[in-house]
């Protein structure tokens, strides 16, 4: 047998399709994701052209939303979106970290599994059901208990003044908090779980207490991932339409008081699109959607930029990061 024949192809043609096929399919899948994003952006820009020609960039800085006089502006909605999401994530983050710490570091094993499952289940509640619960239970509680209490204790601040009502910014913040906590908590829990046990032992072996270990070793090791988790939760809060629509009161206007009715970009789009009476109003709603998309993408990109410079070496936690972010740029080398 001469040398050449040893190296000759022995397997059938079909066997050789595998590699190029894999490459083509995966490339197509990746390209599809990018294409869909591009198409959505294109469609939004096209749909908002009418409103853009009429109002220009002034749309972003105008407070008015008046369907009768055909005057539209996004500022009040941007404000409502920012206040509700920022405050929701501000309340949710420490809560979620506390839950994650309890679940990974402190709770006895059987409790961990059960409680962990329950927390994840909280994330599975459809937002319309949370909205319904917001109307039936949380709203009355906010109106009759929470707002009077906040008003009597912190009423010297402008944020806690005004007529009490179950629908408004405060209720929306609380509903969003409930939606965001399980997301941040479960991602953070994954992060803590991927911090190598040797790191914990290293700290404890130096005479650290459990709290010192958490503060000095665990949290720093998980920090970039926690940023990602918070960004993920924030994106969720910014984009949530249904639950917010049901509890926020759908009113235009910028108020300092958290008791006031308000509205957000997402809730306004969901609430008015079907009932839109003019082309200009429809186009203005699409303009709102464009702004919402820009904000969401900015949050996402900003978070990735925040994470990347810190996240050079440690590989393990990238797994959790990837899961959290579904980002292509963060692959473990």
């Amino acid at each position: 047998m001469d040398k050449k024949s040893v190296l000759e192809r022995t397997r059938g043609r079909l066997d050789r399709i595998g590699d190029p096929a894999l490459k083509a399919i995966t490339f197509a899948a990746a390209a599809l994701a990018v294409t869909v994003l591009g198409l959505i952006a294109f469609e939004l820009v096209r749909g908002s052209r009418l409103a853009f020609h009429r109002f220009g960039l002034g749309f972003v800085t105008s407070q008015t939303w008046d369907a009768i006089h055909n005057q539209f502006g996004a500022l009040s909605l941007i404000f409502g979106t920012a206040v509700t999401s920022i405050l929701a994530i501000a309340i949710a983050t420490p809560l979620a970290i506390a839950i994650a710490l309890f679940l990974t570091e402190l709770a006895p094993k059987p409790v961990r599994a059960l409680l962990g499952a329950l927390v994840e289940m909280l994330a599975a509640i459809p937002s319309v059901i949370l909205g319904l619960w917001g109307i039936l239970v949380l709203g009355p509680f906010v109106q009759n208990q929470l707002e009077p209490f906040l008003n009597s204790t912190l009423g010297f601040l402008p944020f806690f003044r005004g007529p009490h009502s179950g629908t408004g910014i405060l209720t929306a913040i609380l509903i969003l908090t409930i939606m965001v906590v399980p997301i941040v908590a479960s991602v953070t829990r994954e992060l803590f779980a991927t911090v190598p046990p040797e790191l914990r032992e290293g700290a404890l072996a130096l005479g650290a207490t459990r709290w010192e270990m958490v503060r000095g070793v665990l949290l720093p090791a998980a920090r970039p991932g926690i940023f990602a988790a918070v960004a993920l939760g924030f994106g969720r809060a910014v984009g949530e339409a249904m639950a917010v629509l049901m509890v926020i009161g759908s009113q235009i206007g910028i108020h300092l008081s958290l008791f006031a009715h308000s509205d957000t970009l997402a809730a306004r789009i969901a609430g008015q699109y079907n009932g839109s009476s003019t082309n200009l109003q429809t186009s203005s709603l699409v303009y709102l959607a464009t702004i919402l998309l820009v904000i969401s993408l900015a949050v996402n990109i900003g978070a990735q930029l925040l994470i990347k410079p810190i996240d050079r070496r440690p590989r393990r936690r990238r797994i959790a990061l990837d899961r959290a972010f579904e980002a292509q740029g963060l692959s473990a080398d």
Partner: protein, 279 residues
Amino acid sequence: MEAIKTKIEVTEKERLPVVSEREAVFEARDLAVYYGDQRAIDGVNLDIYQRLITAIIGPSGCGKSTFLRTLNRMNDLVPAARLTGQLRYRGIDLYGPGVDAVEVRRRVGMVFQKPNPFHSSIYDNVAYGLRILGMKKDLDERVEKALRAAALWDEVKDRLKDSALGLSGGQQQRLCIARAIAVEPEVVLFDEPASALDPISTSAIEDLMHELKRDYTLVIVTHNMQQAARVADMTAFFGLDVSPDGNRQGVLVEYDETEKIFTNPSDKRTEGYVTGRFG
């Protein structure tokens, strides 16, 4: 392979103090450790002497690490672990009432198998223990001293603020040693400190142990018999024993000066192990 059967060279060391002059830091008396119902080690009687290097060798699963981790109460972290018999540290019952594991660990430091630097700068890694223990005075000096003692100072002095994760494995392990000795413990435990390192880094760690011996009592668990022969003054050989109830547990087979363990062991099992006939 030839090397397995050849006799292990025991490195010439300074003369050991005679038995009566050795000062025991740890005294284990009839020590047994259980994980749940499983007995991991049983009937261990062993004294660990001050400012000597004691190596613990033996086959896998013989409880070497378990024994090491009883010395700084790291086994407390395993929920089902418990201990019978007695372990005294400087005459104090280490597991007695009123003894705080956190306090024990600051006196008995530990270096782990895998380098485990914290996700912070080189400086902060060494300063971590000092900060939590409130030794904040002269922090810079203490950090430098620890890094010098760990033979790492010259390599890192210009980049103390860089992430510790950028160091090589051997440097990371020396950083972990610096971190452990920065808080001025009396004893440093090494749990297979070089098994994840290349030969050059391993040799650096071994040289370092010889240096550290002047100030610290060192205990090292190792799979590598040559390493034990090179660094240790005293060597304890742990073996596996199957008791009548079927429990497989680690027992102390022989404990003596390293030279004797490797050249003239009294127990057949030790001889079998060190000459590579079993284990």
